[in-house]
């Protein structure tokens, strides 16, 4: 159905150009561009691959294999943005021994450009997290944790805009409610703000003011909670907001074979993806763009 819409739109646009007789093509301005988003979540210090005799994930994951896969994709696609949705800390002795140093150093080497903050990032306290920031060559994004009275304040931005071959990509981060999940003495004066209100403000800035071509939310809210229908999650966030193109999720360690297409508050499509946990999968979403302004409608085809 969506594909048909797209074809219709394309047809309409070419007719328009023909009628106008303005011969845009002679100016060589019709361009198509592709942006590849690669993402992980809840890697939980799984720096080494699982052993080949592991009952659940034989030979899967590990930073070396992940680097190889990213390298292969980057060879074929020059325009790549590598992101993470939090909880890169805690899960193997690498974290207990080095407090996240190796996790951050390796993410920097792999070329991550941004991540958000998961609840386990506080496992050595907010001071433990701050002490590792020197090893992070990527941006930490969180729009709904107010760090202004904490040591993390200088290291965190609510959003960041990435220019990718002329495509303007706005990325913002969201974290899960800390009270009841993380000890207060760990997160100290961090203030949790409502994710929906925060997102509404973020998309206003990113879409209306900054006029981003694409808006991505890095979310550690969790995919959905069957037993807690009122708890905010990625599915609800998608429904209650607009102008978000992609939600990259985490926290619930949800394996959803392929991205989910949800409808937002104004009935447009939002893509939600989460790739389980422990670095055994890499999420990939390719966005294709053109600059044909004669396409007025918003029809787009989503192939998952």
């Amino acid at each position: 159905m969506k594909r048909r819409d797209f074809l219709k739109n394309t047809l309409a646009s070419s007719t328009l150009v023909g009628l106008g007789g303005l011969s845009l093509s002679s100016f060589d301005t019709l361009k198509t561009k592709k942006l590849t988003i690669l993402h992980t979540n809840d890697v939980h210090s799984h720096i080494d691959a699982f052993p080949v005799n592991h009952p659940k994930y034989p030979g899967m994951g590990g930073v070396v294999q992940r680097a190889k896969l990213i390298e292969q994709i980057k060879k074929e696609n020059s325009n790549v943005l590598l992101l993470d949705a939090g909880d890169s800390f805690q899960g193997t002795p690498y974290y207990n021994y080095y407090g996240g140093e190796l996790e951050f150093k390796l993410m920097s080497k792999l070329g991550y450009e941004a991540t958000t903050i998961g609840n386990h990032e506080f496992d050595n306290g907010i001071d433990g997290l701050a002490s590792q920031m020197q090893h992070a060559k990527f941006q930490i994004l969180s729009a709904n944790y107010d760090f202004k009275n904490t040591i993390m304040h200088p290291f965190v931005k609510p959003y960041q805009i990435f220019m990718k071959d002329g495509i303007k990509v706005g990325v913002f981060g969201l974290g899960v409610e800390l009270a009841g999940l993380v000890d207060k003495k760990m997160y100290k004066e961090t203030v949790y703000l409502d994710p929906v209100e925060t997102s509404t403000e973020m998309v206003r800035i990113l879409k209306k003011v900054e006029k981003c071509d694409l808006v991505i939310c890095l979310s550690h809210l969790g995919y959905s909670y069957n037993n807690e229908p009122n708890k905010i999650c990625d599915l609800k966030l998608a429904e209650l907001t607009q102008d978000i193109d992609l939600i990259i999720g985490g926290h619930t360690h949800t394996f959803i074979d392929k991205p989910v297409i949800a409808k937002n508050a104004i009935d447009k499509e939002v893509l939600i993806n989460q790739v389980g946990c422990f670095g055994i999968n890499l999420g990939r979403v390719d966005f294709y763009f053109d600059n044909d302004s004669s396409i007025v409608a918003n029809g787009k085809s989503i192939l998952v």
Partner: protein, 259 residues
């Protein structure tokens, strides 16, 4: 006349070109997303090695392995949580060690002694095999980051702990308490540190912060009259104990006795 016509023509062209130019500008600043493709790629079977990255990780890995595998003590028998109805050898061991080691800190900091230690059966994540004990053993038995805490509870709340144990019928690690039951599992006596339980007396109960916060439905801990966080990770407590002794001390003394 002709000049005017030319001028009008020129203006006409200029308008068209300006329009086109503006259109072009518009095109350049805005991209429209017309297609999306998404998928999940399993990270597996990527044969080629990435030796520089692996070489970067190697020293971290070897340091951890060396540390985890260095021998700290000896375990004279296999400790296993699956053997025992009301208590297990590993449960006795865990509760005794946690009580003893926590008490050293508690006495020093607060000048009081711990009376009881209770942990949860589910929190023991591995056996301790007969043979050498290493730091890795502590990580396997206790992979979580839980701290030891001490709660001041009234005797009547301690009675709720006993009721919980009788309802659960699980060999939860227990130390400092002796419970005698008849064949119908009715309570005959509850002794704390070899003295009968008194409802109005205050007892100091050591447990993990996970359980103190209501984990495993141990809701009675909410009735505490004082809360002391020892800020001592159970795993570190075990490692410190392993370093201190040559051979693990394992008590066979039953804590729950059915007569």
């Amino acid at each position: 006349m002709r000049n005017l016509k030319n001028k009008i023509n020129f203006i006409k062209h200029l308008t068209v070109f300006t329009f086109l130019f503006l259109l072009l500008l518009g095109c350049k600043t805005s991209y429209h997303n017309y297609k999306v493709e998404g998928k999940q790629i399993p990270i597996v079977n990527l044969q080629e090695d990435h030796s520089t990255l692996d070489a970067f990780i190697a020293p971290y890995r070897s340091h951890i392995n060396k540390d985890l595998d260095s021998i700290l003590a000896y375990c004279p028998e296999t400790l296993d949580k699956s053997k025992g109805e009301w208590q297990t050898n590993i449960g006795n061991f865990m509760a005794d060690v946690c009580m003893k080691e926590s008490n050293i800190i508690f006495e020093k900091r607060y000048g009081k002694s711990i009376d009881i230690c209770i942990l949860n059966h589910g929190g023991i994540r591995s056996i301790i095999p007969k043979g050498n004990v290493t730091t890795r053993t502590a990580f396997e038995v206790m992979p979580f980051e839980n701290n030891m805490v001490v709660l001041a509870l009234k005797g009547k709340t301690v009675r709720e702990i006993v009721n919980y144990l009788l309802v659960e019928k699980k060999p939860h690690p227990l130390s400092g308490m002796e419970l005698i039951l008849d064949k119908q599992l009715q309570i005959k006596s509850i002794s704390i540190q070899n003295q009968l339980l008194e409802d109005d007396k205050t007892y100091y109960v050591a447990t993990s912060d996970y359980l103190a916060n209501g984990g495993d439905n141990m809701v009675f801990f909410k009735e505490n009259i004082r809360f002391f966080d020892l800020e001592y990770k159970i795993r570190n407590l075990l490692i410190d104990y392993f370093k201190k002794v040559d051979t693990l001390e394992i008590s066979t003394k039953p804590r729950i006795i059915v007569e």
